[in-house]
Symmetry: D2
Subunit: 383 residues, 4 copies
């Protein structure tokens, strides 16, 4: 009997994280992939990433709708509750042997709750990291509900074990997004405007002449999200280089950021910024690999950029405490600080590659472990 | 401004745990009590404990209905999801400064999720304990979502700190149920049949001549719950002493236990067993204090019985790994083992009092700490 | 392509109503049966009727859990809301061509809402009847959401058309439970205690020497449900004939009735009453066919009893305004009225058969119509 | 005791409908207004209309979050289910004497279900109308759950009575939006760009020189919503007059329309169209009163425009069967038809006022009736 491994994707970033894992599970002789998509992955306004996933040859097992509109803490809570209600039905229908919970988003906890309450073993990806914000609490709570732990770094492993998990169930596999980058031709070999449309100015984009911006709301500071984005917008406006700007993830504070960006656009009509909803991860990797600098608070500035050596300006608290390479300059929500750091990074240029977050074989390792590992539903604190 | 402390009671056992805390918060000059009741606390079939609570002078702020019928893992998950949906509205209405999450039941996690996602600090009671079953995972997951920790024992404190919580926020206060017992006249000074009705044989109950049974389903073994209860029923039937039997908590497996008991009653019509839905905690303390032996898997066999020196036969895995006094004999789900242990305990009689789970001042300590402690919503793993 | 007909059973009475329809759909060359079970049909405490359904050879497509515990109007509303949430997922998974909504229970409206909102045609069984209570409103609201109407009587057809439905879509088919009775040997050819267990006194049951009682809560009078049942209990106690008593349906007021019955049993320990959770419809038909009198407020007293000529004492408002045969005596919630009517009916004995509710071919007619009828999702008031 | 009248606003158009009613209830000596807001009324992306409501002096009693993201039939159903779950809590907290259900949106049925199931009388506004789409079914289903009916026209009254409602409970009051228009100075006395911002071209707007467009998705045709809006966009582009364009309501199909508009804007960058999220109703009335023509499928083209004599081009099926004045030209989803009709209406100019939908005193009449009418929770079909 093949082991049925259920993966739940709820936000576009999940797909890049899981793609190599999904591929390896699908191709593994002792595993069967069950793919559930929901949340932002099936919403137009986030670019309907499910289309890309299906185009890549993955079959969807079930769709779940659980996002309650509002983008506020109360709706984040309600969405999570509704996700547990919906996912329990999905797990009843699919009867997986293992469910994977990804990282630290609010709905990832819903995945872990529904599965563990139904006595289905949970495998958690990217436990043991530090970040700040409510994600920090969610990530560790998922660890305590999970039975198997796939962590990115040795330090993360140590933290997961310190939290009382059985060392036999904690595996350092690196960050699976590095898998996607490893064999990729990282040249700018496509026309981003033709392929992705987007809105805003029509700009020229060539190696090292442009900036990429990706800034998400910090859920514990969601009321400041609107002001925070203004600092970045004005900094980028002053720098006045061609800029590719990604819309934020859905989260408490998303509406404030979206509104802030829209108002800014209407008022300043910036002639050097183009906005995008979504990129295939591979294209995103090419774009940041060839950018003069990556600005914002995306985790890709910490992980993939370490591997690629991309100069990064990391803004605010969202990536606090995450292990980082020498390619990152940290700044506050302050236009001048941001500007200065951008200039410094442009002047520095590319850094050398750092394998802090893996060597590009995470997917293979994970599929192999999932196909063979011993699993006990009953957990026990190891002290 | 008084601090608004919100307590959510969802099962009859919660009330005994929280009563001294509620009283101290209500009477504290810098605190305001917000009392939310829901789940089994407002159900007829569990004796509608809310009536006792109101009779004791506590005012109900809001009621929440979230229990999805079924008593299976999937409905336990759905109930938890619905509880998050409902409690987020409650917290939006009440705007508490601190929410208390109690111990380790499935809906306790819903309390912690709803509050922490809404940036409301969570104070957790009874973290750091070991127990087995899904409760074990739930308890530690709540710890990771909580900001203040009130633990019963020094060992629990050490575990909570090892899990990465800030030692400054972990307080050993003992078990608050001991507070209720401390000043109580523990004689059998009431007629249990007159006061509580119940169903079954009319038996004579005097000091040391009777047994108390309280056995709940173990959620990870819920499919065996029906068989497990048979062993206990037959053991008690063979012993043939007057027995006061408490119906189980609602949980995955409750229906199996209830059905098992009902069938047994119909078939054997035991002339020495009387069944009860609910006792006020104080009356329950008197009943176990004067019992020849307490049988089952209730946590009161571990905690209150240690303080009272009650001889206990603890069945199965539900209290695994919980620190216990010398008053407890552990047995498996086996009629003969159970019978033998009961006889041994009856022969031994009362044990001396053990303060392992507190000295009876937990409520005061907790109210005082809640009224003054510094709180930061942002958590951080302490390593 | 076969038409996929989805039937949702949520309470034990649904199965008897739908059994001949389900059988005919299953056997029809142009139809495929999709069977969804949920609510009380999958609960232990209502006898888990799903087991009977599967034993009869029907395959379950999906299970839905939506009943929120409480038995109060607010939980009836919440259960309905949750049913819409759950059923929309089921319909998305099954993609039926037609969904059947049954009669007038609170969750039947959830079936009609979920399907009609998802542009799936709804076929309604038993529209156009009058009954009183919230069922009255629910039934007609379902009519307004439905596209095809299968009614029991000519008068019901007239009412549905008056409400503005297209006469082309209204079909008089009779009551499908009559189908089950038509070819049945209606003798008392089984031992009800051996087959169904139940609880209570062990009594002798032979043709015409016993009473059957079936009394459900009236949702608009749910607060009186406890008192109402007392009148019936005392009347039956006084009559002192062997009595087979059926537990009530789940509904606002169920807990009050259950509690009333339990208390009565404890107090009076009646030696001539035996209580049952559930009968296969066929056995139930045999039991009422041979009873001296059927007492309560079940619709079977109005429909099947007309066909069978069973003497009926109908209590209270639940069957108000429903067309009835000469076999029914209506009484209030009053012990003396009930007693007197019971005596009168016992004295009268069997009535002659009345085809007011059909001739026993409803299932065939419905399956044939569903397999061929033209369906437009867009409705229009016909005036 | 004042009667507590609960009004639930879930979409911006609700406020204009209810404003005069809310004002009259608030000022009535025997009524107390309970105002619940939710859905699109509290969402940024629909302009957060709650701010306008509070600025007008109305106090919010409770907020409800129930919209599940997706804009598809399945999420419309789920949103409705979640609305019932949420509103039942609201009604439990507020304990209204009467709840008002407005017109025919999907969540209006949730209001009627939650209230009627909880035995709270429902007053329905705008029953008895004909429209096409699922709204048609929803409206009549609400009628069957409602106890008091406030209809706009004599014909609507006849239909409601034909559906079996008690004539004593059906009141012709006209359309309450006419109340708001009656005493208004209808000149263009404000700068729409300054007051409302919006996005798009900066255009000159003077009496009769501009077009207003408002086109919503038709839920039964939601998959065509994207194509349908293209026809209108191209027609308006060809006409090339200054145009004020309103974003659509949230509904199945909204995302398609929004996407269609955004793509069109990016591709054609039309220099004569400006897009708006929301207007205060009074300003909207001024804008259509001075427009050369109103284009789309908004009900204001049928009701308010009749009173104001605004030339209207009504597109598609959304307003089918609604009584209309001579000021309306109906066309299909066809660029050329739309263009021709726009030209014809511009050539014709203003029509004379038609009181088909009321005389401007609806609010007073409704408040007076609600304060005094006899109410029975038990309904009965009147034939």
């Amino acid at each position: 009997m093949k082991r049925k491994i259920c993966i739940v994707l709820t936000v576009r970033g999940n797909y890049a994280k899981m793609k190599s894992i999904m591929r390896e599970i699908k191709n593994h002789s002792n595993c069967e992939l069950q793919l559930v998509v929901g949340g932002a992955v099936i919403l137009h306004k986030f670019g309907n990433p499910v289309n890309i996933i299906e185009a890549d040859g993955f079959e969807i097992s079930e769709m779940v709708h659980f996002l309650v509109e509002g983008g506020k803490p109360i709706t984040m809570a309600k969405s999570t509750g509704l996700a547990v209600v919906e996912l329990s039905t999905v797990f009843e229908n699919l009867r997986p042997d293992i469910v994977m919970a990804i990282a630290d988003r609010f709905e990832a906890l819903a995945v872990a709750v529904a599965a563990s309450y139904m006595n289905i073993p949970v495998a958690h990806l990217e436990g043991g990291e530090l970040s700040g914000s409510i994600d920090e609490s969610i990530r560790h709570a998922i660890t305590k509900l999970s039975h198997i732990h796939f962590v990115a770094t040795q330090k993360s492993k140590e933290r997961v074990i310190k939290m009382g998990e059985d060392p036999q169930n904690v595996y350092v596999v690196g960050s699976p997004t590095i898998d996607l980058i490893r064999d990729l031709n990282l040249d700018l070999d496509f026309d981003v405007f033709e392929k992705y449309g987007g809105v805003g100015a029509f700009i020229s984009v060539t190696k090292n002449n442009y900036i990429v911006v990706s800034q998400h709301p910090v859920t514990t500071e969601y009321e400041q999200a609107g002001e925070q984005i203004q600092e970045t917008l004005h900094a980028i406006n002053d720098i006045n280089m061609p800029t590719l700007w990604l819309w934020p993830n859905m989260d408490a504070g998303t509406d404030e950021i979206s509104k802030g960006i829209r108002k800014f656009r209407e008022k300043y009509q910036p002639s050097h910024i183009h906005f995008f909803k979504n990129f295939a991860f591979e294209d995103y990797a090419k774009l940041i690999n060839n950018a003069a600098v990556l600005v914002g608070n995306t985790s890709s500035g910490i992980r993939e950029s370490a591997y690629l050596g991309v100069p990064v300006v990391n803004i605010g608290t969202r990536q606090n405490y995450r292990e980082r390479g020498e390619n990152v300059i940290d700044v506050g929500y302050n236009k001048d600080e941001i500007k200065e750091a951008i200039k410094k990074q442009i002047a520095h240029g590319k850094y050398s590659s750092n394998h802090l977050y893996g060597d590009g074989h995470a997917g293979e390792k994970i599929a192999e472990i999932l196909s063979t590992c011993k699993i006990s539903v009953q957990k026990r604190l190891m002290y």
